[in-house]
Amino acid sequence: MRRLGLFLVILLAGLLVVGTSGPAQAVKPIKIGVAGPMSFTQGEGHWNGATLAAMEINEKGGVMVGGTKRPIELIKVDTNEFISIPDATNAMELAISRHNVDFLVGGFRSEAVLVMQDIAMDNKKIFIGCGAAHPKLCTRVTKDYDRYKYWFRLTPINSTFLGKVVFIQLGTVAAMMKKGLGVKDLSVAIIAEKAAWNEPIVAAAKKFLPKMGMKVAGVWRPSPVAKDVTAELGAIERSKANIIFTSFSASVGIPFAKQYGELKIAAPVVGINVEAQKDGFWKATGGKGNYAMTLNTYAKVKITDLTIPFYEKYLKTFGEAPNYTAGTYDAVYLLAKAAEKAGTINSDAVVKVLEKIKDVSTAGVVVFDKSHDVTWGPGYVTSLGTQWQDGKNMCVWPYKWKGVTYEGTVPIKFAPWVIKRYKK
C-alpha cells in the first residue's frame, strides 16, 4: 500500500512536469538581445524602446513564423561600453553563447560597437545598430559583404548625414536672419564642449561656414561638465557674432542654455545640445532655456502615422520622451516583420528580406542602402530639429525643406532680444 502511494506521487509529479513543460516546448520564443550601457540613459533608451515593441507584438500573439505565432523574449545585454570595452565583448559573447539570442539590437560607443559587431558576425547573428553613428560600421558591409551582411544601422543616421542636417539647420537660421531681420554679413560663434567626438565637427564648421557665406567669429571649447560659461558667452557677445553654433552632448548644455537666457545674448542658437532633447531641460534651466534649438530624432510630430502614438505611449509608460536609442522599438518591429516575411528566423533569409524592405517606422520610411545603412533624405528618415518654445519642445525642422513639413512642425522662433538687436 505504501509502495502504491509512492508510485502514485511519482506519477502525479511526472504528469505535472510534462503538463507544465508542454506549452513552453511548443512555442519557442524569438530571443532578441538588447545591447547597451544599461546604467546610462542611452542604454535605458535601448531597453525601453525594445520593451515597448515586444510588449505590443506579444499582446497581438507574437510573430508568425513558419505557421506558428512565437512570442518575443528580450535579453538585457549590459555592455557597460562607456567604461570597459572588454565588458562589452563579454556581454555579447554571453548573450550569443549562453542565452542563444536569435537577433541583436542596440550598441552605442562606436569603438565598442566595432568589436561587438565582429562577435555578432562571427556567429552569423543579425545585429541592428541603434546608437553608433560612425560611417565605418557600414562601410565594412560593402568591403566584406559575406562576413558583415548581418549588420544593419537603423538609428541614428550616419554622422556624415548628421553633420549635413546640422548645417542645413544652421543655413535655415541664417536665411531667416537675412530675410527676416535684414542682416547682411553673418558671423557665427562656434561653441563646442572639449571632447574628442567634437573635433571633426569643429573642423567641419570652420571649413564649411565660409563656403556657406558666413564668417567664423571664434571657437570656444568649454569643459563638458562646466557649470559656468558666462566667460564664453561674454566673449561671444563681444565678438558680435550673429548666430551661435553649439555642439554639446554633456551637462554643459544646461548652464549654457540657462546663462544664454539670463544674459540675453542677441544671437540665435542652433546646433546640437543633447540636454535640450530631454524632457527635464525646461525645469533644469529654470525656464531660461527658451529658444534653445537642437538636432533631434523624436518629437511629437507626425513623421509617420506611428510617430505620435509611439511618442505618447513611451511618455506614458516610462515618464519621459524617447531619445534616439529608443529606435530599438523600430528595430524589434523590423525584425519581426522580416522574420514573418521570410517565414523563418534564419539569419541569411532575414538579411535578404531586410535588404529589400521598405518599412514605415516611427522615425520615417526605412530603406537600407547597399552598405546596410538607413537611407537619409526627403521621403525616408530625415532627422529633426527641435526648439524649446515657452516650455514645449517643438519640432521646427524640416519645415518646408525640399517639400517636407511634418504635421505639427512650427517655424523657428527668435528670442525678443535677438529681434530687438536688429529691428531698431
Binding site: 546604467s39 549590459d78 559573447e93 554571453l94 568589436v115
Partner: protein, 346 residues
C-alpha cells in the same frame, strides 16, 4: 627510455622536495595545471573569452608590479605601454601585413620605447610627483590619437586586425602560455641579482648610489622591461579584440591595473596575477546584479585593503606559512622547526 625515466624521476624528486613542501607552491602548481587543462573540460566560448582576457590583463598587472611594486617607480599611466604596443601591433599588422607572431613582439618593442620616453624625464621624480607625471603620458598620447585620425583611426581606432589564431582554444593557449611564461620570467628577474638591486632602489636610492650602483640605469631598465611585458599584453589584446582603440589608453585602464595589483598583493608578481584572476571573472559572475555590480566590486576591494593592507595573497600566505628567522626560508605554518636549517620557528 632509461634517460627519460631518470629525468622523470629527477623531476618528481624536485616537485616533491621543492613544490609539495609549501602550500603556496602547491597552489601555483594547481593553478597552472587547471589553466592548461580547462579546455579539456569546457570549450564554452564565453568562459574561454573571459580567461583569455584575464590572462592578458594578468600579464599587464604583473608588469605594473615589476615597475611600481619592485622598483618603487609609482606608475599611474601604465596604459601608455599597453596602448602604444596595441597601436604599434595594429599598424604593423594592417599596413605591413606582419602576422601576430611578428607584430606582437614588435609592438612590445614599442612598449620598450614608450618606457624610455617616460623613464628619462621621470628619473628625477619620486612618489606623488612621479605618479602624476606618468598619469599625464597616456592622456597626452590620447590627444595625439584624436589629433591624427588618418593615422590612428581617431575615436574608432584601428580595426580589422588578423586573428591571434584560428580558434578560441588556440587563442586561449597562446594568451595563457604567454602569461605563464612571461610572469615566470619577471619573477625570475626579481629573484635575481638585478631584482635585489631594484628592490634596494625602492627601499633607499641614496644608499644604493653610495654603494656604487648606477641607479639611473637600473630604473630605466625597469621602465623598459615593464614596458616590454605590458607591450606583449597590449599586442595580444589588440589581436584578440581585432582592434586598437583609444580605450587602451584610458585612465580607467591604468587605474584598474593598480586596483588588481593592490588587491592581489604588490611586490610579488603572482599577487597581481591572482588579483586579476579573482576580480575580472568576479565582475562577470556579478552580471546577475547589474546595478550593484560595481558597488560589490568596490566594496570587496575596500574591505580587502582595510583588513589586508598587504593584499589578499600575501595575507593568506602569511596565515599558512612561516618565515624562518634565521635562514629566511618559508615553511608550512604547522611546522615547529625550519625545513632548511632546523632553527626553531615562532
Amino acid at each position: 627510455m632509461y634517460w627519460l625515466m631518470a629525468n622523470l624521476r629527477q623531476a618528481g624528486i624536485i616537485v616533491r622536495n621543492e613544490v609539495f613542501v609549501l602550500p603556496s607552491r602547491i597552489a601555483v602548481l594547481v593553478f597552472v595545471v587547471a589553466l592548461l587543462a580547462l579546455p579539456i573540460f569546457t570549450q564554452d566560448p564565453y568562459v574561454l573569452r573571459i580567461i583569455i582576457l584575464t590572462s592578458v590583463f594578468a600579464l599587464l598587472a604583473a608588469s605594473w608590479d615589476f615597475l611600481s611594486g619592485f622598483t618603487g617607480q609609482m606608475n599611474f599611466g601604465h596604459a601608455l605601454f599597453f596602448g602604444v604596443a596595441a597601436y604599434t601591433a595594429a599598424k604593423l599588422n594592417l599596413d605591413l601585413s606582419i602576422p601576430p607572431w611578428g607584430s606582437i613582439p614588435l609592438g612590445a618593442v614599442g612598449g620598450v620605447l614608450a618606457g624610455l620616453v617616460v623613464g628619462i624625464p621621470c628619473l628625477r621624480l619620486r612618489g606623488a610627483y612621479l605618479a602624476l607625471t606618468t598619469l599625464a603620458f597616456p592622456i597626452i598620447l590620447m590627444g595625439v590619437v584624436f589629433a591624427l585620425p588618418d593615422f590612428t583611426g581617431g575615436e574608432l581606432g584601428i580595426s580589422g586586425l588578423s586573428r591571434l589564431s584560428g580558434s578560441r582554444v588556440g587563442d586561449y593557449y597562446i594568451t595563457g602560455g604567454c602569461m605563464l611564461v612571461f610572469c615566470f620570467l619577471m619573477w625570475k628577474i626579481t629573484d635575481s641579482k638585478t631584482g635585489i638591486i631594484l628592490h634596494a632602489i625602492r627601499e633607499d636610492e641614496v644608499a644604493c648610489r653610495s654603494a656604487g650602483i648606477n641607479t639611473t640605469r637600473y630604473k630605466l631598465m625597469a621602465f623598459c622591461i615593464s614596458g616590454f611585458f605590458a607591450g606583449i599584453s597590449g599586442g595580444l589584446y589588440a589581436h584578440i579584440m581585432r582592434l586598437a582603440g583609444p580605450s587602451t589608453l584610458e585612465v580607467n585602464t591604468s587605474f584598474l591595473v593598480i586596483i588588481w595589483s593592490v588587491f592581489g598583493g604588490m611586490v610579488s608578481i603572482y599577487g597581481p596575477v591572482a588579483g586579476v584572476f579573482i576580480l575580472f571573472p568576479m565582475l562577470e559572475f556579478l552580471r546577475f546584479i547589474p546595478q550593484a555590480r560595481m558597488l560589490v566590486f568596490a566594496f570587496l576591494v575596500l574591505l580587502t585593503l582595510l583588513y589586508m593592507p598587504e593584499g589578499l595573497i600575501p595575507w593568506i600566505r602569511d596565515k599558512i606559512e612561516k618565515v624562518c628567522p634565521r635562514c629566511k626560508a618559508r615553511n608550512l605554518g604547522t611546522r615547529s622547526n625550519c625545513r632548511v636549517c632546523n632553527a626553531v620557528l615562532d
